[in-house]
């Protein structure tokens, strides 16, 4: 008796049942091979630039710095900045609701093609300066173990990051915007956030800790510390 004879022609329901039973699995050799995959050995570079969900909260909590370039690099502008400018915009609440599905919409970075995304910027300071019509300052001295990670942005906002060589978490993100052009989406902090006035060299700045955390239902809450 041959095997083919055993197979009677299944009806539609049986056909569906058989199709659902086709569940191949990769070999053990494949599983072993993938334990050596490239992303698993890329932690040194990753440690500075890209941070895990919990670490992200802590990293962002500590190091988000916004400079209004045109306002603060001239003496009158500096005085104005110290007395008037508020770099962060305070929201009216500590809780928000954002439909989770809305967040699958692709975020656009205007200089994406040339300079990469906000998450993985690739341009040098020289390259990014050539693309905008406002002044971009950078940190003159970097702490040991920290390095420039790349810049990107758009005509009204440039962002760049300083990364740590040997840390699994943490980065310094700098966002520079020209004076007089309102940002389409200002940097928000929640209503209860504690924003401190700080001095960065000769420059005024604002500092806060905290982050926005969204649960699976879309509820967004301000977390002054690590939310988990």
């Amino acid at each position: 008796m041959n095997n083919q004879k055993l197979s009677s022609v299944p009806d539609e329901n049986k056909m569906e049942e058989l199709l659902a039973r086709i569940q191949p699995v990769p070999s053990e050799a494949f599983r072993q091979q993938m334990t050596q995959a490239s992303w698993r050995g890329d932690r040194r570079r990753q440690g500075g630039s890209i941070i895990g969900s919990v670490r992200t909260k802590l990293a962002l909590a500590g190091m988000l710095l916004l400079l209004a370039a045109a306002a603060i690099f001239t003496p009158p502008g500096r005085a104005l900045a110290q007395s008037v400018l508020q770099f962060f915009t305070r929201a009216e609440s500590d809780t928000f609701y954002v439909e989770p599905s809305d967040l699958t919409v692709e975020e656009t970075t205007p200089f994406l093609v040339e300079c990469g995304s906000w998450i993985a910027p690739t341009c040098s300071m020289q390259q990014i300066r050539s693309k905008v019509d406002f002044e971009i300052k950078e940190l003159g001295v970097l702490p040991e173990g920290m390095y420039f990670g790349g810049a990107t942005g758009g005509s009204d906002n440039v962002g760049f990051a300083y990364l740590y060589e040997d840390r699994l978490a943490g980065q310094l993100s700098v966002s520079v915007e020209p004076k007089g052009r309102p940002s389409p989406y200002p940097w928000l902090v929640a209503s209860s956030a504690v924003v401190e006035q700080v001095q960065i060299g000769d420059l005024p700045g604002e500092y806060y800790t905290g982050t926005l955390f969204q649960d699976e239902h879309g509820n967004v809450t301000w977390q002054p510390n690590d939310p988990r």
Binding site: N3, Q4, L6, S7, V9, E12, K14, M15, E16, L18, L19, A20, R21, I22, Q23, P24, V25, P26, S27, F30, Q33, M34, A37, S38, W39, R40, D42, R43, Q46, S49, I50, I51, G52, S53, R55, T56, T89, A91, E92, F96, V98, P100, D102, L103, T104, E107, T108, G116, S117, W118, I119, A120, P184, Y185, P186, L188, T211, L212, Q214, V220
Partner: protein, 195 residues
Amino acid sequence: LTENTSLGSIKRWLLREKARSLQNSDTFTRLYEETHLTVFRYVYGLSAGSRQEAEDLTAETYTRAWKQRGRFHGDEQAAFGWLLRIARNLAIDASRRRKVRDVDENSNIELLLDSHPAPEVDVIAREQIATLWNLLGSLSSDIREILVLRYMLGWQVRQIARYLGVNENTISVTIRRTLKSLQQEWVHSQEKFDE
């Protein structure tokens, strides 16, 4: 601030955090652990090639995704769709390059089933699955993809429609017609065998 502006700022913040977390080695590894079996089955079904080829394509999918992660923006659900699109392109390219199917391996039913198949998967069912797998290989790649998504991956018609960008009715009709067509092909293959 207007409500829209606030919402826009909050979305930007959340998107950056979610996307940033995906760039992390640990997060990417978790994404791999959660999705690789599905991606493997998808490319295996789509390419209708050998298991070795499906494994190579799966590995290449994640390698490419990791290299291109800077261009990806979205949450983990979006990342899954992004991975499948990379996998699909690789599988289609592989199918085009491959002139002849690896019939010997395709007919090895043990490779098509989970390593711990239920006891009720009897001899007849195994033979039927082997026959069905070979018939799937004769379908066009777009039709085969619908069956793979519906049955091997267990997606709902609505999910398939959204993923492929076609309406649900088209998917449902295609599935029904294809099942009937497979039945006819099955009959023909048996008739040929009997001759």
